[in-house]
Assembly symmetry: C2
Homo-oligomer: 346 residues x 2
């Protein structure tokens, strides 16, 4: 079968590999759509996150099939699999972890000490077929398309961040970074009852997308000072800041525009440590928190997409086919900052 | 009357000043005991926190009577004061703020943009008499002594920090800094159901006090690596870290010894900004939060002392009289790190 296989930094090859074989407790999925995650270009360009030595859970290392945001149709169910059958359309939850891990046993499997991802630490979804644990396959109702199914994973990241933040209906939020994660955060915050959403980015195209997603105020931080713009409209600041940009400037601005008692929720990885004035936290009783991936939230995301409460389609900016993955996907995302989510059709 | 009056840095004078006059809505208190706060030596040595120009709420500036942790007996109640009468023993809540402030109206008066303290921004408690708003005077039941009454204010700081943290019964905590605030945090965390309390300091005498207060493990961070000691006993780390030391080393150690999903609660002011690895927060879903002073918690502190649930007396290390305040109080606290709470008898 055709698959996008990563061998290391700058080395992703579209090649013919052997179809994976079904196993007890697993399902074989004919992949329909797979999204390119913000981390995929980092894996491609710098080898970030991919297993160059055997991963403790999967025991696998490169070459590995890339891609961890995917949906498709079950073609075969392994021995012992109940509730899933050929023909079922499913979105895949790609986290892998050891079941006997301390945090997994607490139900916090995203905090497992050995957690990893299909598509980085085991074979993923940029392939015609994938064989995954039945517990990783979440059934899609008719109202959810397979394209939307490929968006469940990034939406799970943002719904988790919104749900674990202090946001309550009627409050105001700001989102730094209007890439796919920022846009989906806007959509989830609106669904959670945010009264006003401010979006910050340096790309006019992304800010336009942010308006489509529901932002009522957009700020181009390359052209205007974030603090000035926010305080002009919200004299006491905003309640929750979601930080999906990952640099000192946005980290500091996020703290500066919070109401006292407000919360900065980090969703992005940072390239460098930041400087933090702890007294600013103390005087304002500000909180700096973070949310990592997701746990136990795929069913809710799917139900909210099905009911129309979450309209995730505005984040799609391009659809390509597998042979175009490197040139029109992984390479394009680095140079074209107007792109948000690129979906790959398998 | 005799009072300790601050004129500026290094200039605290014990002198005779005019007795304050009663006003409508105020009560006049014969002060019995007043504690020296950790901030008082900073006010004395560096002028930190004291009003050198008129404070927006009190309209007062130096010279001001120092002291904001005090209790005494009402000798006169102003016009319109209900529920308080001469003879009532009271602990004073020394926060001042503008009633029409945005945060005050939300009930978060400790976050008021113009908040200040009696004893720093208005006349305080190192005096024979103080005249305070009736709303600032909390009645003490018979079971609470006037010495304990002088400890209500710092205990309110720590009960607030413990209550606003994520601590649940059965969890483990670590407290950095075993001065008065650290010791009272240990006492409050135990009262809130903490299973194990680890205390960290560099003074053997303070660590001995920490054991008296309820710590089950003490670490002298001048002699041993905090991380090694904690992980030897708690392989997965601890649930909540209270940071009452205020330096990079303790801030970093606090984050390092937390369980994933754990919380660092800052109670101390910091002399310098810190460096923060945001990815450490992300991978561990760690929270950095802070608690400032107190709101709406004096009645609970008093009730918990009265019922014996909080035994605060172990934090007292010395009792002096007003003429000794500078030499045996403000000066002593800077050079003798075995001291915790010094009470002044008026």
């Amino acid at each position: 079968m055709k698959a996008a296989v990563i061998y290391g930094a700058k080395d992703v090859r579209i090649e013919d590999i052997q179809e994976p074989a079904i196993k007890p407790g697993y399902v074989k999925v004919k992949v329909a759509w797979a999204g390119i995650c913000g981390s995929d270009p980092h894996a491609y360009h710098h080898g970030m996150g991919i297993s160059m030595t055997p991963h403790p859970v999967s025991k696998r290392q490169v070459p590995l099939t890339l891609g961890h945001e995917f949906a498709g149709t079950i073609v075969e169910a392994g021995e012992g699999v109940a509730d899933l059958a050929p023909g079922d359309r499913v979105a895949i939850e790609p986290l892998i972890y050891a079941d006997n891990d301390y945090y997994a046993k607490l139900g916090k499997y995203n905090l497992s000490n050995t957690f990893g991802f299909l598509g980085l630490n085991d074979d993923g979804g940029f392939a015609e077929y994938a064989v995954v644990r039945a517990t990783q396959a979440h059934k899609l109702p008719d109202a959810v398309s397979l394209e939307e199914g490929a968006l469940v994973e990034p939406t799970a990241v943002t719904l988790q961040a919104v749900k674990s933040s202090d946001l309550k209906a009627g409050q105001s939020v700001i989102v730094f970074g209007a890439g796919p994660i920022g846009l989906l955060t806007i959509i989830c915050a609106k669904a959670a009852g945010a009264s006003d959403v401010v979006a910050v980015d340096i790309s006019p195209e992304r800010l336009e997308k942010a308006r489509e997603a529901g932002a009522s105020l957009t700020i181009n931080s390359a052209e205007a000072k974030v603090e000035d713009q926010v305080f002009a409209q919200f004299p006491n600041g905003v309640d929750v800041a979601y930080e999906a940009a990952g640099v000192q400037a946005t980290f500091s601005s996020a703290l500066n525009v919070l109401k006292k008692g407000g919360q900065l929720m980090v969703i992005a990885a940072y390239g460098q440590p930041v400087t933090l004035d702890v007294n600013q936290l103390l005087i304002g009783e500000l909180k700096v928190t973070a949310s990592l991936a997701y746990r136990h939230v795929f069913p809710e995301v799917i139900a909210m997409i099905a009911s129309g409460r979450l309209n995730v389609e505005p984040v799609i900016t391009k659809k390509i086919e597998l042979p175009q993955l490197v040139e029109d996907g992984l390479e394009l995302l680095l140079r074209d900052k107007s792109q948000a989510k690129i979906l790959v059709e398998l």
